[in-house]
């Protein structure tokens, strides 16, 4: 089961409410959470690699989700982090959800997502 998660906001988008509420819920559920705040995709992946996290959650409300996630996935590939669970939350239009999943995102949580579902997602068993 996943024990250590990194939550971050790629880029400069300042809306922290979702990321912090989710971080707290994950902590309450017994996970170790590193809340990184705003960082570049490169710095997020670097932290995730150093901290040896099993999952990364990105909160994006800037409309830059496709490009930011592309960059994060590319950097994760370079570090051999293909087994790390990746989730995205924020203002992702419905039609972009399948696209993010094709790109390799495991879970997408738009506004109104139930926090317990997000916790459940991060606590899932990994093979």
């Amino acid at each position: 089961m996943i024990k250590k998660v990194l939550i971050a906001k790629p880029g400069l988008d300042g809306h922290w409410r979702g990321a912090v509420v989710v971080s707290a819920a994950l902590r309450d559920a017994g996970l170790e959470v590193i809340y990184l705040g705003n960082q570049t995709p490169e710095a997020i992946v670097q932290s995730g690699f150093q901290e040896d996290v099993e999952a990364i959650g990105l909160s994006i409300l800037s409309a830059g989700h496709i490009e930011l996630v592309e960059q994060v996935i590319e950097k994760m590939r370079q570090k051999g982090m293909e087994d790390v669970l990746l989730a995205v939350g924020g203002t992702v239009p419905p039609e972009d959800i399948p696209r993010l999943k094709e790109m390799g995102v495991h879970g997408v949580f738009p506004p109104g997502s139930k926090v317990e579902k997000i916790v459940e997602f991060f606590k899932q068993e990994r093979n």
Binding site: L12, R17, Y35, G37, S62, A63, T91, P110, G112
Partner: protein, 534 residues
């Protein structure tokens, strides 16, 4: 059966209210007529008969050219004010060619980095007749406002006649949302107050700060906490200016302005707007002994509450927004931004903005809400609730003061913790079904019942903005820019007002990033206490 036994802010309410509930209410002392102290019933005797509220849609995306087209569209559709939504790069005081900014350029708003961008954005728009709200962070507010002032001057507008607002609220971008490239609040407040001070002396019609309790509310605070932080913040600005011994309160209090939320609970929101007017009157009159009637009257802009709008079944948001606009109208707002129904999904499309503007126009001309001033005044429930909100707001304000005042409470993380507690509670209430949200925790649908257009920002914005900036850097007089920038530094070092130097710099086409770099270099970046939540 209705499970609600309390207002949206958790104030327990009875089944019915009678004169018993407002026994101590004194018509002369507590209410007065519209246009008369304590302004409970509105700031003008005839309210909307004399002047309709300003339809001011908060707008901006991609490049100044594209935003100019949106502004023109809104103007053509009956908009009566402009309000600039900048992107995160601009709010952070960065340039589009700063490393790591590329994806954010033009995304959540428009990118502006020089006076040329400001000129482009308002090309062909009558800014001598229509006021603009420059929704700038406290860090970028001096240079961005200076760009707008320089634009007006070049158009031949007398600055003493220039009408508009700078947001310039210290809480908004340090606690409500967070700009990572900002300096610590104890230094930031000096820039905020510089703009207030300079405007009060030179632009009597300009509002150099608009305290944005809208955003505090969006972070989960309730209605009376919203009021409390609003006034705690205003008092902190006032105290910081008075400390300087340069201006008397009568000279700058009239230019302070306010930006409140319109949340879901219609009557509670109306009560809040009314309580705000009475509280401000008391703060001015009793705490600061102000006599100037302009300073005693609480003028405010309202934005419908984005956090109440849902991603699910988004057309329902049109209804939420309409109720919220109605609350603002019944509460006597001077200016309203009606959000767009698609804001949980994307930046507003032209279609969703049009519906928001029509929502306001229907409220103005069809609903009957504007026929008479303060139409709900005298309702037992409303007057009782107004008193409740005021009493509770004073109590919460005392807690902010006990935490050391606003800037201290900000730097210590007290405010972030209050926001966090409030948003966690709000979320828990939704999860547990105590707070109903149609389409989210009741009346849910497996599949979205309809399709709607999604706005796609121009991915080329960063390239365009970078190229323009490169050209400006090549063509401007760089010696002059260098001189202007060092003037800003020495004014800051000598604790002089930075505005005259900032205005000279923007006129020489110094960029926003170049100006803000001076302050970043002097004070360093702020480590937001959000990261140390425990």
């Amino acid at each position: 059966m209705n499970g609600n036994t309390a207002t949206s802010s958790g104030i327990p309410a009875k089944t019915v209210y009678t004169p018993e509930d407002i026994k101590s209410f004194d018509l002369q002392r507590d209410s007065g007529l519209p246009g008369e102290p304590p302004f409970l019933r509105g700031i003008y005797p005839n309210m909307y008969r004399g002047r309709m509220w300003t339809i001011r849609q908060f707008s901006g995306y991609a490049t100044p050219e594209e935003t100019n087209r949106r502004f023109k569209y809104e103007h053509d559709m009956g908009g009566t004010g402009f309000s600039i939504a900048f992107d995160a790069v601009t709010e952070n005081g960065l340039d589009p060619d700063d490393p790591g900014t590329e994806i954010d350029v033009g995304r959540g708003g428009v990118n502006v980095c020089t006076l040329q961008d400001m000129e482009t954005m308002f090309e062909g728009l009558p800014i001598d007749k229509i006021s603009t709200a420059v929704i700038a962070s406290p860090f970028s507010a001096c240079p961005l406002s200076a760009m707008y002032f320089a634009l007006a001057e070049r158009r031949g507008i007398n600055l003493r006649e220039l009408d508009g607002t700078s947001q310039n609220d210290i809480l908004l971008f340090t606690a409500c949302c967070h700009i990572p490239a900002t300096i610590p609040p104890r230094h930031l407040i000096n820039l905020c107050v510089d703009l207030v001070e300079w405007s009060a002396q030179n632009l009597p019609k300009w509002h150099p700060v608009s305290f944005a309790s809208y955003n505090y509310r969006e972070n989960g605070l309730n209605a009376y906490q919203e009021l409390a932080l609003l006034f705690a913040n205003a008092i902190d600005y006032i105290e910081n200016e008075l400390k300087r011994n340069r201006l008397k309160i009568e000279q700058f209090a009239p230019v302070l302005s306010f930006h409140l939320a319109a949340h879901n609970d219609i009557l509670e929101e109306v009560a809040k707007f009314r309580a705000a007017r009475r509280m401000w009157y008391k703060i001015m009159k009793e705490r600061y002994r102000v006599e100037n009637p302009k300073a005693l009257a609480f003028r405010f802009h309202v934005q419908t509450s984005g956090s109440t709008h849902t991603y699910q079944q988004p057309l329902n948001n049109i209804v939420r927004i309409a109720y919220q606009v109605l609350a603002a109208a019944l509460g006597g707002a001077q200016s309203i931004h009606a959000n767009s129904f698609d804001e949980g999904i994307c930046l507003p499309t032209e279609l969703s903005v049009l519906i928001s503007m029509r929502t306001q126009q229907i409220c103005q001309h069809e609903s009957g809400a504007t026929v008479t001033a303060d139409p709900l005044g005298g309702s037992y429930y409303l007057e009782w609730l107004t008193n409740q909100l005021e009493d509770r707001a004073w109590e919460y304000m005392a807690r902010v003061e006990a935490a050391g005042g606003l800037v201290a409470a900000l730097e210590s993380g007290w405010i972030h913790r209050e926001f966090f507690k409030a948003m966690a509670d709000y979320q828990r209430e939704i999860q547990q079904g105590l707070r109903k949200v149609v389409g989210v925790n009741c009346y849910e649908m497996e599949e979205e019942p309809y399709q709607f257009p999604v706005f796609r920002p121009n991915r080329g914005a960063a390239g365009i903005q970078k190229a323009k900036l490169a050209k400006i850097r090549l063509e401007r007089d760089n010696d002059e820019v260098g001189k202007c920038l060092s003037e800003i530094r020495s004014a800051t070092e000598r604790s002089e007002n930075v505005m005259p130097a900032v205005i000279r710099a923007v006129k020489a086409y110094a960029s926003l990033g170049e100006i803000c770099d001076i302050w970043r270099d002097m004070y360093g970046l702020w480590e937001v206490p959000l990261l140390k939540m425990e």
